[in-house]
Structures are given as C-alpha cells and as structure tokens.
C-alpha cells in the first residue's frame, strides 16, 4: 500500500465539501490530477489544490491507496464519503458527512466528527477516536435505509438520533448517547457502553440494541422477557432482554414473530 499525505494549508471561510478525499478518487492519478479534483465552498467550485498540498505516493487501485490528512479539517465535509476500499486517516477533527455511504476500506478520525457521519454506511471500518454528533450511522433525511453494514466505532460520546432506520452493521459508542437511538431500526446492532437519555428503540421492528449504562426512561412499547448471559464487544455478563417496539407491525420468520431486542446490562 502506498501512502499519500495531504495537508490543509488554507482554511476555508465557509465549509469545504470534499467528497474527493477518498482512495477511489485518488487511485491511479498523478499529484497534479489529484490537486485538480473539484471541491466546493458555498456555491463555487474550486480545486483540491486551492486548499491542500500533497506529498508521498499514490496507489494504482483504491485497495493500494492510503491517504493521511493533516491540518485542521474541522471545516471539511464528506471526507471518505462513498469510499469503497483503501485507507484514510485524518489527524484532526472532521465536519459533517464523514464516511457517509462508505462501502469498504478503513477510515480513522483522530479527533471528533460532526453530524451525519457514517450515514447510510454499507461496509468497511470507521473509527472515530473523539466524539460524534447527531445522526451518526442514520439514514439520510427521508430515506428508509440507514447504516447497512460495516463497523462504526465512536470512542467518545455522541448526540441524538443515532442509528435511525439502521438495518445492518454494528454501531458502537464507547461513551454516552442522547435521545432517539435506533429509531425505526430494522436490523443491525447498536452498542452503547455509557449512559443514554430516553427514547431508545422507538418504532424498532428488528435488530439489537445493547445499553451498558443508565437509561433515564424506557419506551412503553418494550416488554421484559428474560435475563441472558452474553458476550458483547469483549464484555461478558448478564443482560435483561426486552422485546419491542410492540406498537409496530412486525414480520414473521418461520412462524415466529420477529421483534427488535433491547438488552440492558445488569
């Protein structure tokens, strides 16, 4: 794998939309071609080279391409969006839509990410070492396809509405989360190792949510079934199992009604 390093030299006045910072867009191109890729600030189109410098080598395929992003990218959106392979490491925070619709490869953000990151993610490994904001691993506004595959891990805390319409993959939050977790969830796994506020699993029909910490209020549509011994992301212990959301239409599989499952660490 070859590594290219890009460094932000000009901080955008507004916000920079740079969905070209992906191994897919870089692979097989010369440095000049990469610096000529289009980015957007407000309603104007610019070149990547207007904001970034590039060094290192570029791989011939996305699989062989690693991109290290230096400089303060907290005003850069869409880094790693729709990437299918290779690796991207951002040594700072990143703005909204980071890793949105990501399909494969590895994306690491050393700082925080803003809302809508990992939106509709389909595959790959996405790690945020800092905090996330709202709608992490959710669906785009109006869409019914949230996170669908891959692993999204946030080591810090997140905001509200994470995993909305999630129907696959694993979303792990090692810190706390605010309201609306896994709303309309139709599959996949959400693990919150810290505390949550309320409205967990509202309208969920399928999939699993694990809550390790406190929950302020439980949704009335969930029903306790049993205590179970489980191993969840390296932790072994007893969890209380609930099924729900009982107010929703649930499908059947082999004669059995399928419910969403909510586990709370005992």
């Amino acid at each position: 794998m070859k590594t290219a390093t890009i460094t932000l030299k000009t901080t955008p006045t507004l916000y920079l939309e740079a969905d070209v910072i992906t191994p897919d867009a870089f692979a097989g191109k010369s440095k000049d071609e990469i610096l000529a890729l289009p980015v957007y600030e407000g309603r104007e189109c610019y070149k990547l080279g207007d904001y970034f410098e590039i060094a290192g080598e570029i791989g011939d395929t996305p699989e062989n391409t690693k991109i290290v992003v230096n400089g303060d990218c907290s005003k850069v959106k869409y880094i790693g969006a729709k990437m299918s392979a290779g690796e991207v490491i951002v040594n700072s925070s990143a703005d909204m839509y980071t890793g949105a619709w990501m399909r494969g490869g590895k994306l690491t953000i050393k700082g925080n990410v803003d809302s809508f990151s990992g939106l509709g993610m389909e595959g790959g490994e996405f790690t945020v070492e800092g905090n996330g904001e709202n709608y992490i691993g959710a669906s785009y506004r109006g869409d019914w396809r949230g996170m669908q595959g891959g692993v999204l891990r946030v080591k810090g805390n997140v905001g509200s509405d994470i995993g909305t319409f999630m129907n696959g993959g694993t979303l792990i939050v090692e810190g706390d989360a605010d309201v609306h977790i896994g709303t309309h969830q139709e599959g996949g796994t959400i693990i919150i190792k810290g505390d949550v506020n309320r409205r967990v699993g509202g309208q969920m029909v399928k999939g699993t949510i694990y809550i390790f910490g406190n929950m302020n209020y439980m949704m009335p549509g969930f029903k306790y079934t049993q205590d179970v011994e489980l191993e969840v992301d390296g932790y072994k212990g007893t969890f209380a199992e609930y099924i729900g959301d009982l107010g929703e239409r649930h499908s059947k599989s082999k004669g059995q009604v399928v419910y969403g499952k909510l586990y709370r660490k005992k």
Partner: protein
C-alpha cells in the same frame, strides 16, 4: 429571428416521408421553410440522425403530486440525483432530483433528449394553479395539462342522466378556467369509491352513492369529447391498474369506444387513448402466477384503429409512483411498506404517492419490464403506439433512451432477461424471448414524433419537418448508415442530442443547455353552447361544498404568460 440550415443529415420523418435519406432542413423565424438565403447559419449534420422534436404524451411533470413527491423524498435528490446539481452554471439554473426532478431539470432533460413537448397527465382542477405555476417554471419544453374528469361529481350527476350537452358544457367551462387541454380519466369511479374505502374493479362496478358505473362514465365522456370536437381524445387510465389478471377489464374498457366516430378538425382519428397500457396487460390470479397478457391486448389494439396507447415501460429503477388512482397507491403502500401519502381532492379526484423499487430480483417487476416491451414490439401500427414510462411511475422519463435501446436491439433484451434473478420463471410468464423484432429509427420517429402529435391533434405544427411546421429539430450522434456495434451508443446518442432546436433556436448543443428557450403553455378553448343549468350547478357546488370560492378557482392569465390557445368548436 435568424435563418438556419441543417445540412446533410439522415432525416427520419413521417410527414415528409423521408426514411433515413440525406436531406437539408431549412429554418426561418421559428418555422421549417423550403429554403433559406445564403446568409443562413449552417449546422453540419452529416453522419447524424435528424428528427423532429419529440412529444411526450403522458408524464407527471408538474403539479401538487409531483411536488409532494419532492417534499417527501429528499433522498431522491441526495442519493439518486447528482449530489451537487446546485452549482450554478452560466446559462442554466440548478438541477436536482432523479425520479422527481426539479422543474429546471425537467425542462433541460427533455431538451437534452430532443423532446419539445410534454403532456402533464393528470391535473386536479382544484390545484390547476399549482400545475400552471410549475409548467411556467419548466424551461424550453412546451407543455399542456389534462384535467381529470373520471371521478368528478358534476360528471357523475350529468352522466347518470346521460346528458351529454350538460357534461360538455361543464367540460368546456372547466377547460377554460383551468387552462386544460383535454379529458383525462383515472380509474373511473374508483377514486371516488375509495373515499368510502371501496374501489371499482370492473367497468360495471357501481360507484357508491352515485348510481353510475365506470363504463357509463367512460362512454359518456367519449361522447362529450366528440361533441366538443377536442384535439385529443379521452385519455384513460382504466380500472384495476397493476392488478394481476386485469387484462379482461382493459379489453372491456377498449370496447367502450366501439361504434363511435372521431369528430374533430385536428386530424385526430382515435377515440380512446389507453395510457401506460403495460400496467393493464396482466394475466394470472395473484403474484405467484402473474404473467403477461400483452398478446391478447395487442390482438385487440391492432384490429381497432379507434385506439391509441402509450406503453408505460418499466425501466428497473428506484422511482416514485404517483397517480390520481388513490386506492392503487394505498394498495401499493401495503405491499412495500415504504412512505405513503394519499390525498382527497374535494368533489373532483384524489391522489397518492409511494416510492417504489423495480428490482431485477423481484419476479413481478421483471415481468412488468417484459410486458412494456412486448406491447411496443407486437404493435402493428407504430403511429398508434407511443413510448412512455408513465414518468415517474414505471421509471423516470430520462430513461426513454434506454427503452429505445431495448426496443431496437434484441441482444440487449436477451442480456437483461438472462440477468434477472428469476430469469427462467420470467421467461415462462412472458413472450418477449420469442419476439425477434427490432424497431427501426423510422419506427422510433413514428412512436415519439408523428404518432403522439397526431393523437394530440397537433399534427399540423409538431412531430414533423414539413415547411410551415414548428422548427423543433433534434440531431443525434447516430449514423444510420453505420449503426454502432455497441448498443450502449444508441442510448447515449438519444440521451444527449448533438443539437436540439426549439422553435428555430439552438437550445441544446453537444448535450449542454445553451439557451432557455421560449416555452409555451398549450390549452384548449372548447366553445360549446352555454348551459344556464350548469352555471347554476357550478355556483351552487361552490357555495355548498368547495372550500374555495368560485372567483379564486379560476387560473388567471398571468399563470400562463406565454399561452398557445387552440380553439375547438362543438359539433352541435
């Protein structure tokens, strides 16, 4: 205006009868002319295909239900559309959306494909203002809209007594106040019945509380249409859209036109336009034994010159269904459990919107794809056969070039057929594999130009390249003398025309919009003897039932700032 000479193109045109021979097309002051002076700007079309601007006879491109689709499907802009259509280019406005494009994208996309006219297929009269606001904002393409009459209380009441004069007087009034073009019928009686939780599943199913049947409604409207001598015929979406085993109902509906005569001064010959026939040509009793009945349907159509139809081809995309057939959308939402919206339009109609994915992995979707193509390929008269996708119901209109490719190339059909998840089962349920026909460019020009122009009563000005006609000319990068070996090139050529001229102005060059044109709103002023009784009924309905006043109902002239009014006179 300037003069233009299009030189050496391979011309395909029904009106002048040129079938691919090299010919020059001269244009002056927005019209086709015999010859131009030596000062004319020349366009070299050698090695290219030249056709008149195309006409789309049925598409949902303007109005409340289209906008409702835009409201509740932001993801159609974000995921399916271009993420950054919002960047403003020099001559054009921003474009957004895939299955429900913005008005600008609608106009530009039609122009890029060489289309100069589009018929908005269902205008709820109460919301005619909204329809005209969007038509006004859609650049380049001329447009008209068909108000819906098939579930209208006035029509029910007059036709219950079989009073054609009153029905016609009402239609004449409504076309005038809504600036409408003709008579659209959607699931006659069914949408009204759905207001009571019911539907009409055949032409003899009575509409609750109105004591009238879909058959009586349709026959009455055909009579009123010919009494008024309108340029277009009754344009019908029959009962039972999308249901397995609906073909007999479709044939029953077509039979309703038997025995009548087309009476108009516009050269129209048909009495009934069957729209998106693909959705109405199914056999079977359920989704398991779902199959094509395209052959039975086309056997009837081929023998009956009073019928025209458009295909409604499924394009295997993720799209947004929207129709005035309220019960159908409710039924569809129960099948796919996606977002759903239904609306009742007081006294007049209703509608619904549901996103839909025509997946190649789903058996019925694959059969629907085959049925649409079978209809066009089994048609003996290309002039009565028109290609549509019932945009956006079976797919977006931007996929027309893909449909042309399938119709023009058996190899691509076979490849698609083999690629279906249930290809064997699909092949058994359809007859597409047995059809070897490949449409020619001339037949495509009949189905997209001269045919729809004639069916809409516009044959004297559109759909052809004879002197005196509107100078709408499309030039495609297709050399008929050397057709590309790769069928994808056909799709590409029709998607991005080399040139498109609208009213003698170059609006699109090399697939890029270069001019926003001077679009017109077409509507029909149907002159009929006034009926005092109808005027009183209208006034009373507004006082008793409508939530708006009569004065606020009419579409003011400012909503169609560039109108083209066609006058029709009743055959009294």
């Amino acid at each position: 205006m300037s003069e233009i000479l299009i030189k050496n193109g391979h011309v395909f045109d029904v009106v002048t009868g040129i079938k691919g021979d090299k010919a020059d097309i001269a244009i002056k002051d927005g019209k086709i002319v015999d010859k131009v002076s030596s000062k004319a700007k020349t366009i070299d079309a050698s090695g290219k295909t030249v056709m008149a601007g195309a006409l789309d006879i049925h598409a949902h491109v303007a109005g409340p239900k289209v906008n409702l689709g835009r409201w509740f499907r932001p993801e159609d802009k974000m995921i399916r559309g271009e993420m950054r259509g919002g960047i403003v280019k020099e001559t054009t406005r921003m474009e957004q959306g895939f299955s429900i494009p913005s008005v600008f994208r609608t106009g530009y996309s039609y122009a890029r494909m060489g289309y100069g006219f589009a018929m908005e297929a269902a205008m709820p009269p109460l919301y005619a203002r909204h329809v005209h606001e969007e038509i006004k904002d859609t650049p380049i393409v001329d447009e008209a809209a068909l108000p819906v009459f098939g579930n209208n209380w006035f029509v029910f009441e007059y036709l219950k007594e079989h009073n054609i004069e009153k029905t016609a007087a009402y239609i004449s009034w409504l076309l005038k106040v809504t600036k409408g073009y003709g008579i659209k019928v959607v699931n006659p009686g069914g949408t009204e019945a759905w207001g009571w939780g019911l539907n009409c599943l055949g032409i003899n199913d009575e509409v609750p509380f109105f004591d009238i049947t879909p058959g009586e409604i349709t026959k009455g409207l055909i009579e009123a249409n010919e009494y008024l001598g309108l340029p277009h015929s009754v344009h019908i979406h029959p009962n039972m859209l999308g249901d397995p085993g609906n073909a007999p109902t479709t044939i029953d509906t077509m039979k309703l036109a038997e025995g009548y005569k087309a009476k108009n001064k516009f050269g129209r010959e048909q009495l009934l336009h069957m729209t998106h026939l693909q959705f109405h040509s199914y056999g079977g009793t359920g989704w398991g034994d779902f199959c094509s009945n395209a052959k039975e349907i086309m056997d009837y159509v081929n023998k009956h010159p009073e019928i025209t139809f458009d295909t409604g081809n499924v394009t295997l995309d993720e799209t947004t269904t929207m129709t005035a057939d309220g019960p159908f959308e409710h039924h569809l939402s129960a099948l796919n459990h996606l977002k759903w919206c239904n609306v009742d339009v007081e006294l007049e109609t209703g509608s619904g919107v549901v996103p839909f994915i025509y997946s190649p992995n789903v058996f019925p979707c694959a059969v629907q794809w085959a049925v649409g193509l079978e209809l066009a390929l089994l048609a003996k008269d290309p002039m009565r056969t028109m290609i549509t996708t019932d945009h956006p119901n079976a797919g977006p209109f931007t996929r027309y070039p893909r449909v042309f490719k399938w119709l023009m190339c058996k190899k691509t059909r076979d490849e698609q057929m083999a690629a279906f998840k249930h290809s064997g089962k699909v092949a058994d349920a359809t007859i597409l594999n047995e059809i070897d026909r490949e449409l020619t460019l001339y037949e495509i020009s009949q189905m997209t130009r001269a045919g729809p122009a004639k069916a809409l009563g516009l044959a004297n000005m559109m759909g052809g390249l004879a002197p005196g006609m509107n100078a709408d000319v499309a030039i495609y990068n297709l050399n008929p003398a050397k057709m590309p070996t790769d069928p994808e090139e056909i799709e590409k050529a029709f998607s991005l025309s080399a040139y498109f001229l609208k009213n003698g102005e170059i609006v699109c060059q090399d697939g890029q919009i270069v001019h926003s044109g001077t679009k017109k709103t077409f509507w029909v002023d149907a002159k009929a003897p006034e009926s005092k009784q109808v005027n009183r009924d209208v006034r009373e309905k507004f006082l008793r039932y409508y939530t708006v006043t009569q004065a606020n109902y009419e579409v003011p002239d400012s909503y169609a700032p560039n109108p083209f009014v066609i006058e029709a006179n009743a055959n009294v």
